[in-house]
Amino acid sequence: MLSPATFRPVLAGLCLLLLNLTACGSGESNVVSGNRDGILHYGNGSEPQGLDPHVVTGVPENHIIRALFEGLAVKNPKTLEPEPGVAERWEFSDEGRIITFYLNPGARWSNGEQVTASDYVWSWHRALHPETGNEYAYMLFPVVNAEAYLKGQVTDFDEVGVKALDDTTLQVTLNAPTPYFIQLMDHYSTFAVHPETLLKFGKMTDRYTPWTRVGNIVSNGAFKLKEWSLNRRIIVEKSDQYWDRDRVSLNGVVFYPTENVVSEERMFRAEQLHYTQVVPLDKIPVYRELPDTPYIQAPYLGTYYYLINTKRPPVDDVRVRKALSMSLDRDKLVRTVLQHTAVPAYSITPPNTLGYYPPKRFDFDPDQARQLLAEAGYPNGEGWPGLEILYNTQEAHRKIAVAIQQMWKSELNIDVTLSNQEWKVYLDAVTQIDFQVARRGWIGDYVDANNFLDLFITDGGNNNTHYSDPIYDDLILYRAPKAATREERYRLFTEAESMLMDEMPIIPIYTYTWKHLIHPSVEGMYPNLMDSLNLKYVRLVSDRHLPEALR
């Protein structure tokens, strides 16, 4: 039956398939063709959940959505101060409680229609609607009755403080003066969507209609969606309707879901990418040594810290908490385990958060730590009941926990055990405050100390420590928002943050940094605390190459 004659077509088929394996095309690298055609090849970390601004959360989503859409105001990539987006200007009145946005009459949707103030009212209605399930709805909570509407206490959206006075005038009424509110206009959860497009595919509050697909989506940003191949790439091209199109230099951007950091770095070296989302830790020392290195690192608006359950012994005693924190040699940790890719932190807010510097209430001081521990009843670690550090299963967290375990053993002579849990199990434990000490990170949504300090108000959803102090709550919730000047407000924040660090419900460990590899042909990507990129400022220059050592 299996005679050579029957084999022949099978063999021919096999040969064809193998030929397909080695199919031919052009051999030019993405960087070379991209520089010529104005196409940026961008490593974006992972496949986005989706492109609906009121539905998704996450950093890769943010990069693509902010290429496709534009908010009322955008952040200047150098200073992070707000600059005009859809709104060409805005005015504060009633001591900062009312903001009037004057929309640019030239702002257009990608289908040519004008972006109007009523589009914003409709979109914020959607963002705040109880049925939408927008996880970032709280971004709009400074607006009068926004929170009440989401929680069903107010059912008429007319009572929410956002009104379209005419096509180009949007009036927003806030509960209290909110200095960072303009910044929030650059967050995708406050973006406008095109009402008619959404309604063509479903109800206003539907989460899973195909309105964001190629051919369906209507957006108002510098770029429009051209291709979306799941887990392969997303291509956006320059929009000819964008009001500031003359400033846009790129003709398009290709976003790659570069999940594997090692592969991403290899793609960069092979000139398949202009930009990587991260850099593998073990490659960083090599890149640092290069002359004209493409490696860029800068502080990031995020803090890595340990949560402490202030109701569970032995860490219910503030002296124990302080002893633990003071016996950590953060400089050494950053130098060794973290390869200088972090900045030691002694408080929760990152330094220079729009001009705010947190107080430093303690330092690495093993002698005082030992004394505090003795006062708490554990001289030289005697009688220590044990302590467990919880972290989510990941090599980087384990390394840090092991180093900290060693430091506490050698400085305080106490034994600490480590426990790791899978991500969602760990989240469950943190939410239930079912731990003694747990690893945590917080990345700011906007550049303001409030974003870090309001975590620790009584029963805050992300407090997770049982820390509660009415004076602290009063400072953060009532006194700081009413401060007349930025200096006054920062003074109140300093007061609150000092109180927090004196009680030590968290052990701050380090401030994050972001790291990218950026090809020398890319211009207009500025380092800033938010790692915020505005693609309309990016330009590609031909005839620049990677350092010889990388090729």
């Binding site: 394996l21 927008n134 989460r207 887990n231 999940e259 594997n260 290899r266 398949q272 991500w423 989240l427």
Partner: protein
């Protein structure tokens, strides 16, 4: 034969139902849910999300609703990727993963059968030891080790082949196919060696040789058909395994296939996605097992008789 196939298909249904039920309830018993995030979600928002995805119903109602949808071929919306249905994600990744699996299998077959047959012709000589030692190494070496080695040598040192992508740059399909196929090539080599050794000692092979046939004809015309039965039996599960097991290869080579979703769905607690991929892959495994049983029966007349099929 037809009756045999029918019986096997009917037996498969309860197996798949058990898989669905076990997966459904196991997934739900895992701590944490699809909407748990590092930044805590407002309770009202979480309730709205659960209502949109039917998670507010009692568990048994969700189960029967799911079975109802499944009977109509609807695997539900993905939790992690709002706007995409599980069907859509599966069928966008399947062609790529199937293509990768197919190439890997072809590579595995061509290398494996060749090595196995060569080894079986001169057992316990160098011609046997070398391919079989290589096969042992192939079985032992995980793809996350083989991949960097191949990439280093062929992608970076020699600069012959692209190191990521799928169908973007010429030749980018070669390294992933080899990486994925290597372990299977090793299994196939061992299986075909064992099968061939048994057949080559049979009387009818001696007869064929006595007729004066060349060794090449003896092997290709007479011995191979019987000797490769174990390989054929292995192919069905192997192909299903290739589809389900391509996660590592797909991630490191940036291939837009199915394997990535399969593993991530579990971490994301993307309930419908976990169920969809599990149901889909278990159905495939059951199906390929039936196919390989049928092919084995077709290759082996003795088995065919025992099955009491349609003569």
């Amino acid at each position: 034969m037809l009756r045999f196939i029918l019986i096997r298909l009917l037996q498969a249904l309860p197996v798949i139902l058990v898989v669905i039920t076990a997966t459904f309830f196991l997934v739900r018993s895992a701590p944490g849910g699809p909407f748990d995030q590092e930044k805590v979600v407002i309770p009202e928002v979480k309730r709205a999300l659960e209502a949109q995805y039917r998670l507010d119903l009692p568990l048994h109602e969700q189960y029967f609703a799911y079975l109802g949808d499944l009977a109509q071929g609807d695997l539900g919306p993905s939790f992690k990727y709002p706007g995409r249905s599980v069907n859509e994600i599966l069928f966008s990744g399947l062609p790529v993963t199937a293509e990768l699996g197919l190439y890997a299998l072809l590579i595995a077959l061509s290398i494996g059968v060749l090595a196995g047959v060569l080894a079986s012709l001169r057992p316990n000589t160098v011609q046997d030891y070398i391919p079989m030692s290589l096969a042992m190494i192939g079985i032992c070496m995980p793809s996350f080790l083989l991949e960097p080695l191949l990439v280093l040598v062929f992608g970076i040192w020699l600069d012959w082949l692209p190191i990521t992508g799928w169908g973007d740059i010429p030749g980018d399909k070669i390294l992933p196919s080899i990486t994925l196929g290597a372990a299977y090539a090793a299994y196939i080599a061992r299986l075909s060696r064992a099968g061939m050794l048994e057949i080559l000692s049979q009387d009818y092979i001696r007869t064929a040789r006595a007729k004066g046939l060349s060794e090449f004809r003896v092997v290709t015309k007479h011995a191979l058909r019987g000797g490769l039965i174990p390989v054929v039996a292995f192919l069905g599960p192997a192909f299903a395994g290739l589809l389900a097991g391509s996660f590592v290869v797909e991630t490191i080579f940036q291939i837009p296939g199915l394997g990535r979703f399969y593993v991530q769905a579990a971490f994301n607690r993307d309930y419908t996605m976990i169920l969809g991929t599990t149901v889909f892959l278990s159905t495939l495994i059951v199906f390929f097992n039936i196919v390989s049983d049928v092919v084995a029966a077709w290759l082996n007349p003795r088995l065919r008789g025992q099955l009491g099929g349609g003569r």
